[in-house]
């Protein structure tokens, strides 16, 4: 229950931000950050809880984005329905990739490669197929009404993406406490042992991949509604695969708040680097690469892990006797 309260408190604080902040620059930054946190939460379900490190979550982000855009532009369907269809299409893509990869028993390097390859195939197809607008991309016509999932104010967009992030947080928290989540973590820790205990590892990983892909696809669909444009390098480019895995790993892999914390830290660092160097490209992403290496070297459980360790340290110092009993019982 403690986590549920914490989610409520964090979301409430974030929801109050537009009351105090009216700067479009800041709100834009927060919208993009939350969008990356959402994509990262998707990655976290499969990579963090399931231990399956995907290097191609762009496949789901891009599919969510393209389906949302294509159904609107080509068939004139309501944007909210398109968004839902985009999520479903992302989940279906996850099911297909997952079914093929897990059935073939691909793990570790092989799984990373096959996910990367699927994203690349989709990128190449999207950059030549007429329905995606090929090399030109797709523009969603401007229609600033809530029923077409477009808002005149950034604050409204911000509240929508915050609501999506809140849902993703609750999904992660529910997963953590469910039987399915326990199976998933068992598979992560030792797949063979989990199977020996009767866990259907393929089904569990597949389920996690579908949820994971759906959440990341939602971030893609939101991207289209916010920027009203999509093309192949954005939709299926490596940037989103990297950012989707970067945020949970830096924030705290396999934790409810990891992706959100990671996105805030990573995006702030990136913006900070941009402030220092002005318009010179490269430095913001350089910091991402460096932070990724440093976190794995010195804080493998991410920022959330560092805080958890620090709190445990404080608790141990405050209540030495109680903790000694606990340790004896465990040991």
């Amino acid at each position: 229950m403690k986590d549920a309260w914490l989610i409520g408190a964090v979301v409430a604080v974030l929801a109050a931000v537009p009351l105090a902040v009216h700067s479009n620059v800041v709100l834009n930054f927060l919208v993009v950050t939350l969008m990356i946190a959402l994509a990262g939460q998707g990655w976290n379900i499969l990579g963090g809880y399931g231990g399956q490190y995907s290097f191609g979550h762009a496949a789901f982000f891009g599919t969510g984005a393209y389906v949302t855009a294509i159904l609107q532009v080509r068939y004139g369907i309501n944007a909210w329905l398109c968004f839902a269809a985009g999520i479903a299409a992302g989940a279906a893509t996850g099911a297909i990739v997952g079914f093929l990869a897990f059935r073939a028993g691909l793990r570790s390097s092989y799984f990373a490669l096959v996910t990367l390859a699927f994203a690349e195939v989709l990128r190449i197809v999207a950059s030549v197929a007429p329905i995606t607008g090929a090399g030109v991309g797709l523009l969603v016509p401007l229609d600033l009404r809530a029923q077409s999932f477009q808002f005149p104010s950034r604050a409204a967009f911000y509240l929508v993406i915050l609501a999506l992030v809140a849902i993703a947080l609750m999904i992660a928290q529910t997963l953590e406490r469910s039987r399915f989540g326990a199976w998933l973590i068992a598979v992560r820790e030792n797949e063979d042992a989990a199977m020996a205990l009767g866990v259907d590892a393929i089904a569990v990983k597949l389920g996690a991949m579908v949820i994971s892909a759906a959440i990341t696809a939602a971030a893609g669909g939101f991207y289209v509604q916010y920027f009203l444009f999509i093309d192949a390098p954005i939709a299926y480019g490596t940037w989103i695969s990297v950012e989707a895995l970067l945020t949970p790993i830096i924030g705290g892999v396999g934790t409810v708040f990891g992706p959100l914390v990671g996105a805030l830290v990573v995006k702030s660092l990136g913006e900070g680097a941009k402030l220092v160097t002005g318009d010179v490209p490269g430095l913001d992403l350089m910091t991402y690469g460096a932070v990724l290496v440093l976190v794995i070297a010195f804080a493998p459980r991410g920022i959330v892990g560092v805080f958890a360790d620090a709190r445990a340290g404080v608790v141990r110092r405050l209540k030495p006797s109680e903790n000694a009993v606990g340790e004896a019982a465990r040991g």
Partner: protein
Amino acid sequence: MLSPLILITAVLNGLLAGAVYALVALGLTLIYGVLHIINFAHGALLSAALFAAFLAWQKLGLDPYAAAFLLAPAFFVLGYALQRFVIGPASRGDDRNMLLVTLGLAVLIENALLYAFRADTRTIELPYGFRTIDIGFTFLAVPRVTSFVAVFVVALALWLFMALTDTGKAIRAVAREKLGAELSGIDVSHVYAMTFGLGTACVAIAACLLIPTYYVNPSAGNAFVLIAFTIVVLGGMGSVPGALIGGLLIGVVESLGGFFFGESLGQLGIFLIFIVVLLVRPRGLFGASA
């Protein structure tokens, strides 16, 4: 009209292009065979090597083929240091951490290049850049034939090194049985770093062979590495002959695919092969076990 001679020309050009792919894949497969991880920084290191070869020509007037003798040892040292002091210590022997560290390095190197050189695409002009050999029914580019020959010389040298030297034997021992090698007194982290250095040196040579006919920009290496992944999977991860044959095969597939379906769909053929091989026969054509 489709004449067999045009087709043969396409196949020959594919073989010539495939040789360089094979060299890039050779470095990748070497590292996989010993460390059991895919080095995601391979592409960024190739881009870095392309820039190094470019600068050697522009600033020092050094011919790319001569520069190879300088860049190969330099990149060997770079690769050795990266594995010994960054990748090894940071990942503490965990496969997934190693993958992420190489990915982090890839992002770091690629964007450092972007920061230093901007996104502009550059080429160099060599007196022999457009020279061709007449083989009767068609013409072949001199730099491509040179690189074809050079790749086989490098592969032979690598094979001799692995077969005859103590370090080569140690590398093979670690690849086969890490714990046993460690118990017989082999310094595994040294062997890991040696292997990574050799793989990186392959990339430096590939860059020197590519630069006369290819362009350089901060993400130029990525295109090759995605192809190299395919070759490594096709040939069997860790298999050196697999990388060579796989490289030539993929070169031909790309050339014929481009010939029949246009360039971008030729690339698509490569990835479809990649996915099919991964799913149907993940140990590849020559791999011992997945």
